[in-house]
Every structure is written in structure tokens, then in C-alpha cells.
């Protein structure tokens, strides 16, 4: 078993209205087959046994698909590995003796709840503003009535894989949710089923993004670099073209 020893500088903040600061913990000789979240589990077990408050962080599926987890590792949203959320980030990615600074996503629209956990409910409200095709259960036509080319379906799928983790926001200088919004618009806007509401959807989602306190696109493309689903920032240009599109 290969092991590493790590120093973790973790942001600790008891609640959203409380002051926060870094706290240093050491993990000695831990297996490189553990994920970073499993290392935090290990640390938490020790903290609990010592009567201290465990580190709060969001997680659930631990296979990179639910989008619950996410924080900054040494300033990078979702950590240093390409196309990987922190639950899939294994300790073998780090050198022995490394110092890891873990802090929550920083964005006005994502208030800190505790330690590494933030409130991302703004994303749900953006989708509520129009991120759907209006179709009632039971009124759908036969599935093969509308043909969708293979390439077209694949492009829509690529955009639709967004897991709503918020790394794009956390990596953007303007804390913009442009990649998140563009991904949803591109998913539905490229399919025939999404056409009737296409323009209205583009306007409504972008307006809601602004209302939630997200900034506008900073054009740095950090969002694409950190996205665990590798969603292309080209969709942001696509979204901007949507605003000028004739109905």
C-alpha cells in the first residue's frame, strides 16, 4: 500500500453569519487509494472521537454524477485533476508532504452554510425560470415522430450532462453562472422539442441569473477548465447569439 502524508488547511466557519478562518490538520501515512473525501471522513472520525466539531462538506453519490460535492483545492474549483469532481479525486494525485488548502466556493450567490458547504439553490431557481419544455404528462407524441440527427443529439447530450456542481461559478472572476445557463439553453435549444420556447427560455434564464447575483461572463474560460463534465465554453458564445436570434 502506497501512502502519503498531507497537511490540510481547511476553512472552518460554524455558520453563514459566523466568522471563518483556516485550521490546520495533518494526515500521516494515509493510503493513496483513498479519495480526498474519504480522507476528510477519516479526519472527521478523529475529530468526533476527540470531541470536536467535524468538517462540514457536501457529498452524496461519490461517483461524480450527483453534483453535491465541490470546494476549492489550492484555489482550484473541484481540485487539480482534469474532468474530475473532488469525490473522484484520489490521494495518488498528490505528492507526499503536500499542503492542501481547502475552502468553499466563493460567490455572492452561493452563501457559505458551514465550512466547505455552500447554498446553491440559486441554480434551481434559474431552471425554474424556464429550463424545461412545457409538456404535460400524457400529451407526448410518439417518440419517433420528431427525428433528431445523431450528431445533433450528441451535442445536446454533451450540454445536458451538467451536474449543477457550481465549479464554473466558483472559478469565474465575475462569479458568473454563464456556463451553467448556457449548458441548459444549448441542451434544449438544439432539440426540436425545445424550439417553441427557445427565445423566451434564453431571456428568462439569463435574467434570473442576474437576479440571483451572478455576474456576467468574464471571458476567462476558467469555467470550461474546471468543469468536471468538460462542458465547452463555446456554448456561452452560442447563448449570446441566442439573444440576437430572430424568432
Amino acid at each position: 500500500m502506497t501512502t502519503v502524508s498531507l497537511t490540510l488547511r481547511i476553512w472552518r466557519q460554524a455558520g453563514s453569519a459566523k466568522p471563518g478562518g483556516f485550521e490546520v490538520h495533518r494526515l500521516d501515512a494515509v493510503s493513496t487509494d483513498l479519495s480526498l473525501l474519504e480522507a476528510l471522513d477519516l479526519l472527521n472520525e478523529r475529530l468526533i472521537a476527540a470531541g470536536e466539531r467535524p468538517v462540514g462538506f457536501e457529498h452524496d453519490c461519490r461517483e461524480g454524477i450527483c453534483g453535491s460535492c465541490g470546494f476549492l483545492v489550492n484555489g482550484q474549483a473541484q481540485g487539480p485533476q482534469r474532468a474530475t469532481s473532488v469525490c473522484q479525486l484520489y490521494l495518488r494525485q498528490f505528492l507526499d508532504g503536500a499542503v492542501l488548502t481547502l475552502e468553499p466556493f466563493r460567490a455572492r450567490a452561493f452563501p457559505v452554510l458551514q465550512d466547505l458547504a455552500v447554498d446553491r439553490s440559486a441554480f434551481d431557481r434559474i431552471i425554474t425560470a424556464g429550463g424545461y419544455c412545457s409538456i404535460n404528462t400524457g400529451s407526448a407524441p410518439e417518440a419517433n415522430t420528431l427525428l433528431v440527427g445523431r450528431e445533433q443529439a450528441a451535442m445536446a447530450f454533451d450540454a445536458a450532462t451538467c451536474i449543477g456542481c457550481g465549479a464554473c461559478v466558483a472559478s469565474c472572476r465575475n462569479a458568473s453562472a454563464s456556463l451553467f445557463v448556457a449548458a441548459k439553453l444549448a441542451h434544449l435549444g438544439q432539440l426540436p422539442q425545445g424550439q417553441p420556447e427557445r427565445q423566451q427560455r434564453a431571456r428568462a434564464l439569463q435574467a434570473q441569473m442576474v437576479n440571483e447575483g451572478f455576474g456576467s461572463c468574464s471571458s476567462h474560460l476558467e469555467c470550461e477548465a474546471v468543469c468536471p463534465q468538460q462542458i465547452s465554453a463555446d456554448w456561452i458564445s452560442w447563448m449570446h447569439r441566442e439573444s440576437w436570434r430572430r424568432p
Binding site: D33, C66, G67, D124, T128, G138, A143, L147, L188
Partner: protein, 640 residues
């Protein structure tokens, strides 16, 4: 163990092929005006919960949706990889509603209701229509029609898929449909709430008590009907493919309040998962079973052979599934593949850390089709494997081992999806229906969406039509009693004053359950495990430490509440596995097998659904609902 009058499945009489239509047409309706005054509570926001919430709200009901996630989009349906079955016969390969129906009954090893399975097959096509109309980006053929594949050994191509993320895309479809109703003001989302008790008044479900994870406040919610869509309980095994927060609390608390629990021992083990190694490993990750289409499963002939797998010559490899099942080979059903792998590992033939895995080798497929073709087919899976293990599956055989994955058992429901508590409906994996003793690949998503989009919206209306609208006030004695019960429970857990974190006990529970009630079960072991479980439970209650109540997220309290309920359910699973003295589907009893090691079903004594009644302070009582087969004759399952 005679059938009890209370256990009326309300199956329509007559031929199963038209049963659902006749049932639907006989259900009373409710006027749109009246629907606006009726309140429905949906617990859980996965496929079945979100689909039901959206569909009921579209009809005009006032719906509240409760989820412990920060967003409904996190529900564990999101992780389903493979696909969703539908009898559309787009492949022109002879599929039909009748065939999907028969496959489902047979796949469940004749432990499911014919009428329910037939309804599922009938509805399957409409689900695909609905999802496509929502904008679910299913895989397509070049001509633009929907693509299908054969899945899990099926002889026809009836599985619709969206690369390896079908569950995610279907969930987002249902989630978006539900948020559309939030925008319309008909659905109210209540996130970050754990349902901790069911409120029952005059024998009827009237609401729930839940705990807000941030404020810690206990809330009473009352409704005209309560729908549980809270998923399965594979996490009773600690390590499983389920998300870490997946739990049985909602169904277990409903069980304690009078909802009978059906077939708790029917749990499915998935053969192709990334094995466990580390003591602090927190979950097992599933690798889609589609890999078995191209991968060959083998072990070195010589036990303890620790040479790098690629250097072991063909003559010294045992392709054990191909050897034992010449016609099905690596595509044998999940339970057989799992059992054979486990047996060989127990004999000391396994590979990897602790000898707890077998090889799944893509080398031949890579040589035949090229790396690019294999990557196109399994791209994201190969990357996932590499991220987790640090090994490249294109050049080194993958190591896999079976892991708990899905629970066929769940709360007993009648044909209308209503539990033994009137007004309490149970949907999706949380109920026991349709999959019998074993679920077919790509049928979980189908059942969840059939329940959510089509069945519950019809039957819940049927139930509400006969009742006066009205919720209970928060100070109603039934609400106060449930609230006080939850308060006392939390207080007791906080007071234990032990020193150990919750996970320590959950790991121990998992070890016990996977050993005694996992892939293979045995009467003596099950009986001993009942005693060990009680010791473990008492140890948990005495030694656990929940950090002080000043913590916002209070994850340890949430875990402790869930674990306490897993202890209760584990006891019932052991009792059920002990009482079912036969092998069927995923339930394999070593004392009930043929000389060649195949499962031995006992249709004389066990062609029934076991439904357990909770009795406070006493041992639970096992009731049974006999199964009648009009259309498909129970026969032996043969995969030789």
C-alpha cells in the same frame, strides 16, 4: 402463515392483458376545482417522486415535495447508467408488450404479480414518449430515430439509453417538469428535510414529521395523501453502489406506523463493481454491466498466482462463467455471475487486495475492434475506473467484485400502489412491486417512471375522490404525538455520551449483513446473525457520540438516525431470509440448491409475497399474499 384479509392486493379480475385499462376506467375522477383544494405530500425527488409531483401538479393538485438533498436534482436516480426498457419493437426483433411482461415475470423468478408486470410493460412505451418530449437526449441512429441496445442478457434490443448517463438524463427531465410546476405555483419544494415519522390518524396517513437540516427545526406537514418515493436500502450493507445518504428511514418509520414490509430479503447484488480495498473506502462504484458484452471474466487457475494478469498464459486462466454456462457465458444473470465470483474468491482463487476480486478483461475486444471502438462504447466507464484505481483498463484487466446495488423488497403495496396504511402510497424502489425476487437490467428506471408519471396520478386520484379534503392542524394530537416521538428519539441519541463516530457502527453492520445476508445465505448463519445484530445495535446505542447540537449541518445526527433505522430493517431482512426456505432470484439459500449448485425454488410453499407486520416491543409477524399465475407458467430457470 395463512393469507390475511387485510392483505388485499385489489387486483382487477379477469385477463391480465386488459386489467390496467379496466382498473383505470373504473377509478372515480375529481373535478379540477376540487383538485386545487387537495394537498399531496411527496417524499423524495428522484425519478418516481419528481415524476409523480409534476404529473399530479399538472392535474391541479397542490403538491409539496420533500427531499433531504440541497436540490432535487441530486437524487440517486441520477447515477443509473445503463438504460430504460420499453417494448417498442423499434429493432423489429420480435419484441412486444407480451414479451417484456413475460421476461419481467420470469426475471423475477415468479415472485411478482402478473397484473403488475403486465401493466409495467404496457406503460413502458408511453414513458419513452414522455421523456423524449421533455427533451431527454437519448442516443439516436444516423437517420434520427431512437437507438436501442440489448441489455443484461435480453434476447431483444429494447433498452433506450443516453450514453452511460441514462438515469441522469431521465432525472433531469422529471426534475425540470417538476420545476415547471414550481413556477406555476402548484409545487412547493422543501429541500434539506429528513422525513422522520409518519403521522397516522384514524388509521389513515395524514402527514409527516421532518427535520430541517440547517435550522434543526422539526416541522409537521399534513396532507390529504402521502407518497413515499424514497428509494432502496442497499446501504444497510454499508458498502454499496448507493449514494452515501441513501437510507431507509422514511419507509422504516412508515413500517413502524403500520405499513407492512414485503420481501425485505430480496436484495440485488451487481456483479460488476470496483472492489473494496481500503478500510475507509466509503462506497463501491458500479461499472455498467454492458462491459460484460465485450469483457471476459476470468481468474488464474492457480490460487495465489500474483503475476501481472497480462503475463498469465491462456492455458493458465479459468474463464469460469464461460466454462460453467457455455451458452450464456459472461452474460449469465446478475445473481449467477455474482455467486460464482464469490465462491471462487472464498476458495482463495480471487485476485487483488485480500483476494476479493476477479478479472474483467477487455484485451480480446480491444484486439478485435481496436482501442478507439472500445473507448467510444465505454469511454466514461474506462475513465472512471482509471480515476478510482489508478490502473488503465485498456492494457490491464479490470478488477471487479459484486456489490449490493438494488433492493427489490420494500413496503407492501396493492395494485394501486397503496400500502397497508390507507392514504400512504409508495413508489419506485421504495415499494416491493414488479421485480419479484430479481430485477432485470434497465427495468428500475422503467418502474420508477411508470409509478410516477402514470400509475400514481391515476390511483391517488381514485383514493382522494372518496374523501373529504382537509389537513390536520399542527396542534392535532396525532401530530403532537409524532412530533414528541421524534423529539424523544433525537434526545436519546444525543444523550448516549459514547465516544465513537456513527460510521464505526455502520461498517460493523455492513460486515455482518454482507456476510450473513448477502450473495449467499444459510439458515444457521442467519439465526446466529440475529443475535450478533442485537449486540451490535445495543453497542451502537451505548457507545455512539453525536457532536453537540450547535452544528449547522449536523451530519452525524442525520447519520445516526438513519443507522438506527437500518438496524431495525437489518433484523427484518434476516428474519425474512430465514423464513423463506427456498432459493429464488437473488435470494440464494445454500440449504436449498440442486446438486449442481443451482437455485432450488419451492413453488408449493413459497409462491407468495411475504409481508411483515411490525408489532411494538414484540417480534414481527409474517403474513403472505399468494401469487396466482394465469398467463406465465412457473418453470425452472435454466442458463446452462
Amino acid at each position: 402463515m395463512s393469507p390475511t384479509p387485510r392483505l388485499d392486493p385489489r387486483l382487477p379480475e379477469g385477463p391480465v392483458a386488459t386489467a390496467w385499462q379496466r382498473c383505470r376506467e373504473s377509478l372515480p375522477l375529481i373535478s379540477p376545482n376540487r383538485k386545487q383544494r387537495l394537498r399531496i405530500l411527496v417524499v423524495g425527488s428522484g425519478l418516481s417522486g419528481a415524476a409523480a409531483a409534476a404529473s399530479l401538479a399538472e392535474q391541479g393538485y397542490r403538491v409539496q415535495v420533500l427531499t433531504y438533498h440541497d436540490s432535487p436534482r441530486r437524487a440517486h436516480s441520477v447515477a443509473a447508467q445503463g438504460g430504460i426498457n420499453a417494448a417498442r419493437n423499434y429493432a423489429n426483433d420480435g419484441d412486444s408488450v407480451e414479451r417484456l411482461f413475460r421476461d419481467t415475470v420470469k426475471g423475477g423468478d415468479f415472485r411478482a404479480r402478473e397484473a403488475g408486470c403486465h401493466r409495467l410493460a404496457e406503460i413502458s412505451g408511453a414513458i419513452i414518449d414522455q421523456c423524449v418530449a421533455q427533451g431527454v437526449p437519448f442516443a439516436r441512429e444516423y437517420g434520427g430515430t431512437l437507438a436501442n441496445r440489448s441489455f443484461g442478457g435480453a434476447l431483444v434490443s429494447r433498452t433506450f439509453y443516453a450514453r452511460g448517463q441514462t438515469g441522469q438524463q431521465l432525472l433531469y427531465g422529471a426534475y425540470q417538469a417538476m420545476l415547471r410546476q414550481v413556477a406555476a405555483g402548484r409545487v412547493e419544494l422543501l429541500c434539506r428535510r429528513d422525513m422522520l415519522d409518519l403521522i397516522v390518524h384514524d388509521g389513515v396517513a395524514r402527514g409527516v414529521v421532518c427535520r430541517h437540516q440547517i435550522s434543526g427545526a422539526l416541522e409537521v406537514l399534513s396532507a390529504d395523501a402521502v407518497l413515499l418515493a424514497t428509494g432502496g436500502y442497499s446501504n444497510v450493507f454499508y458498502l454499496s453502489t448507493n449514494a452515501l445518504k441513501s437510507n431507509a428511514t422514511a419507509i422504516w418509520q412508515a413500517h413502524r406506523r403500520g405499513a407492512w414490509f414485503a420481501n425485505p430479503c430480496f436484495t440485488q447484488i451487481h456483479p460488476t463493481c470496483i472492489p473494496s480495498g481500503e478500510a475507509h473506502q466509503s462506497k463501491l462504484t458500479l461499472m455498467s454491466e454492458s462491459l460484460r458484452n465485450d469483457g471476459r471474466i476470468w481468474l488464474p487457475l492457480r490460487p495465489g498466482d500474483d503475476r501481472p494478469p497480462a503475463t498469465i498464459p491462456q492455458a493458465e486462466r479459468d474463464y469460469f462463467l464461460e466454462r460453467q454456462y457455455p451458452s450464456y457465458g459472461n452474460l449469465v444473470p446478475r445473481d449467477l455471475a455474482s455467486r460464482r465470483a464469490r465462491e471462487l474468491c472464498l476458495e482463495g482463487r480471487g485476485v487483488g487486495p485480500g483476494g476479493r476480486s476477479v478479472y474483467l478483461d477487455l484485451a480480446e475486444a480491444v484486439a478485435r475492434d481496436g482501442t478507439t471502438a472500445i473507448e467510444t462504447r465505454y469511454g466514461n466507464l474506462l475513465e472512471m475506473y482509471e480515476r478510482i484505481t489508478g490502473e488503465d483498463p485498456r492494457t490491464t484487466p479490470m478488477r471487479i467484485y459484486p456489490a449490493p446495488h438494488y433492493t427489490m423488497g420494500g413496503l407492501w403495496v396493492d395494485y394501486h400502489l397503496m400500502s397497508t396504511v390507507p392514504g400512504l402510497f409508495v413508489l419506485g424502489e421504495a415499494n416491493f412491486s414488479e421485480h419479484g425476487a430479481n430485477r432485470l437490467g434497465a427495468s428500475a428506471l422503467m418502474q420508477a417512471l411508470a409509478d410516477g408519471y402514470f400509475i400514481a396520478p391515476a390511483t391517488v386520484t381514485g383514493w382522494l375522490a372518496g374523501r373529504a379534503a382537509g389537513t390536520l392542524p399542527a396542534d392535532h394530537p396525532a401530530c403532537c404525538e409524532a412530533l414528541a416521538t421524534v423529539e424523544a428519539r433525537i434526545e436519546a441519541l444525543r444523550r448516549t455520551g459514547g465516544s465513537q463516530p456513527v460510521d464505526v457502527f455502520h461498517r460493523r453492520l455492513g460486515h455482518l449483513m454482507i456476510d450473513a445476508c448477502g450473495i449467499s445465505r444459510q439458515a444457521d448463519r442467519l439465526a446466529v446473525a440475529l443475535g450478533e445484530l442485537e449486540t451490535l445495535r445495543l453497542g451502537f446505542l451505548a457507545e455512539v457520540r453525536i457532536p453537540g447540537d450547535d452544528s449547522v449541518l449536523d451530519a452525524e445526527l442525520a447519520k445516526a438516525l438513519r443507522l438506527e433505522d437500518f438496524f431495525g430493517l437489518a433484523d427484518l431482512m434476516l428474519r425474512d431470509a430465514l423464513a423463506r426456505q427456498e432459493s429464488c432470484g437473488a435470494h440464494f439459500r445454500e440449504d436449498h440448491q440442486t446438486p449442481s449448485g443451482e437455485a432450488l425454488r419451492d413453488d408449493e410453499r413459497f409462491a407468495h409475497i411475504a409481508a411483515w407486520e411490525h408489532r411494538p416491543g414484540a417480534t414481527p409477524v409474517r403474513h403472505s399474499e399468494p401469487l396466482v399465475f394465469q398467463t406465465v407458467t412457473p418453470g425452472p430457470r435454466s442458463y446452462g
